[in-house]
């Protein structure tokens, strides 16, 4: 069982050692990774996903429960305690959604056949146009692909550590995603540019020039700000869905207060 993941410092883009001794992520913790594009956010979670042992471009090391993970854990999906949603919005495998999930469930050592239907059902909560069991994964839209992959990570990856790379920018229902995975007691790491997601997490890691610049803990004031922003975000969401459905802006939206 995973109690904690430890990140040991690597090098920034100029080859200087990062300015921290270690960063610990503990079970049940939510973390966001923020910073400008190109600052090393994706590289940071990729290091966790690959369980880097000074053999990635950042030279970081990752420990599980304080120990160096075994070689086999790094390359055997059925042992891997980490699920990652990358920014990919494309699948190259010439398979139906059902076949794709079946093979992935085999890879993750899951015997229960029900997981396939459950995963497609969950994916359809995140996306507008429904995914069918027999849809080819190669022709799904970007948003559908990401919805399927998020649902896959939650139910088939079913790992104690979930890494999500910018879930907000795929046109999927992020509130729904955030709500479902925050109820789990796992380590959840969001790479994000979204202030709502950043403020919903307990810990914020700020990146710059390929290195961790600082680690912040959410203050009480920020908790309040998060709740206000969440309401605001829901209203924006409602407008977005109305526009997507072909509605026009009515008077009530023009006068709506978001304070």
């Amino acid at each position: 069982m995973i109690k904690e993941i430890t990140i040991l410092p690597g090098l920034d883009k100029s080859g200087m050692k990062e300015n921290f001794s270690h960063i610990e992520l503990t079970a049940g913790e939510t973390v966001s990774i923020v910073g400008p594009t190109g600052s090393g956010k994706t590289a940071f979670i990729t290091d966790i996903e690959l369980l880097a042992q000074e053999d990635t471009s950042t030279r970081r090391r990752i420990l599980i429960n304080g120990m160096t993970p075994d070689d086999e854990i790094r390359s055997n999906p059925s042992l891997k305690p980490i699920a990652m949603i990358t920014q990919n919005t494309k699948c190259f495998a010439d398979l139906s959604a059902e076949e794709f999930l079946q093979i992935h469930a085999r890879a993750r050592g899951i015997k229960d056949k029900k997981v396939i239907d459950d995963t497609i059902e969950l994916a359809n909560k995140f996306t507008g146009e429904k995914i069918q069991k027999n849809s080819r994964v190669t022709v799904l839209s970007g948003g559908q692909t990401r919805s399927l992959l998020v649902a896959d990570a939650i139910l088939i990856g079913a790992a104690p550590v979930i890494l999500l790379d910018e879930i907000e920018n795929a046109g999927i229902f992020k509130q729904e995603v955030v709500r479902i995975i925050q109820e789990t007691g796992k380590i959840i790491v969001f790479v994000t540019h979204d202030p709502v997601i950043a403020l919903l997490t307990r810990k914020r890691i700020i990146m710059e020039n390929g290195a961790v610049k600082k680690v912040l803990f959410r203050s009480d004031l920020e908790v309040k700000a998060a709740h206000n922003l969440l309401e605001f975000d829901k209203k924006v969401g409602i407008i977005r869905e109305k526009l997507r459905a072909g509605k026009t802006i009515t008077k009530e939206f023009v006068t709506a207060s978001f304070a």
């Binding site: 990635t56 699948c91 190259f92």
Partner: protein, 236 residues
């Protein structure tokens, strides 16, 4: 001398992988490199320029490249050995999927791209099923789930293969590979044979002789340097 035979389809990342291996191990051992291809190959010039190592190429032309590999490997091992190499890396052309170029000694590595298609591991036959190590490349281009689906497919073809995933341009997560190369045994030139069965045909390789080097064969034969039949198209 240690031996690595690297196979995999064109553009799967074989040469990028070779570069990472050379970069990592060059300080520890003297490395020689042979590229076998059909029409054109540039890797010998590229690698000797970039790393200043012993590098050679061989174009098979009208011969099938794995067949050509068998014919020249005996001479090539001798060439690497006589130049004092500690590690000899052979990169195959990786075209025909009937055979595999792996030998009974050293390490056989198959390189597969994440975006090659989900049925590639099954279609590639002996190139996958007889490898010691399978390396999946270009992992930065696909989702984790899709990588794991491909890895599962490879395992279903070859359950005992050692699997690794990498972005070969950056050389990520190859720690284990370097350890396996360092710990691989020295080859014995006189007892090197092919792991897989050659195809049916009429020359000595075609009827199943596994010995390496042109002197053990007759029929359609080529030496590492120079050719035995002038009418054979040799590529470049």
């Amino acid at each position: 001398m240690k031996l690595l035979i690297i196979a995999g389809p064109p553009s799967s990342g074989k040469t990028s992988l070779v570069k990472q291996i050379i970069r990592k191990l060059q300080g520890e051992m003297k490395i020689a490199f042979l590229k076998i291809d059909v029409v054109k190959a540039f890797e010998d010039v590229e690698l000797s320029r970039e790393f200043n190592i012993l590098a050679k190429k061989f174009c098979s032309g009208d011969l099938c490249p794995d067949h050509a590999g068998v014919m020249v490997l005996g001479d090539a091992v001798e060439w690497a050995e006589s130049n004092g190499a500690d590690l000899f890396i052979v990169e195959s052309a990786g075209l025909c999927l009937r055979c595999s170029p792996y030998l009974n000694q050293g390490l056989g590595i198959v390189v597969l791209s994440s975006i090659a298609g989900i049925h590639a591991p099954e279609k590639m036959g002996a190139m996958v099923s007889l490898a010691d190590i399978a390396i999946v490349t270009k992992i930065d281009l696909v989702s984790q789930a899709e990588r794991e689906v491909l890895v599962q497919k490879i395992k279903e073809v070859h359950p005992s293969v050692i699997l690794m995933e990498t972005n070969a341009l950056q050389g990520t997560s190859l720690h284990r590979l370097y350890g396996l190369i360092r710990n691989s045994g020295d080859i014995d030139e006189d007892t090197l044979v092919l792991k897989g069965n050659p195809p049916l045909g009429t020359c000595t390789i075609c009827v199943g002789k596994k010995e390496i080097g042109w002197k053990h064969h007759f029929g359609v034969v080529q030496k590492l340097d120079g050719q035995t039949a002038e009418y054979l198209y040799r590529g470049e």
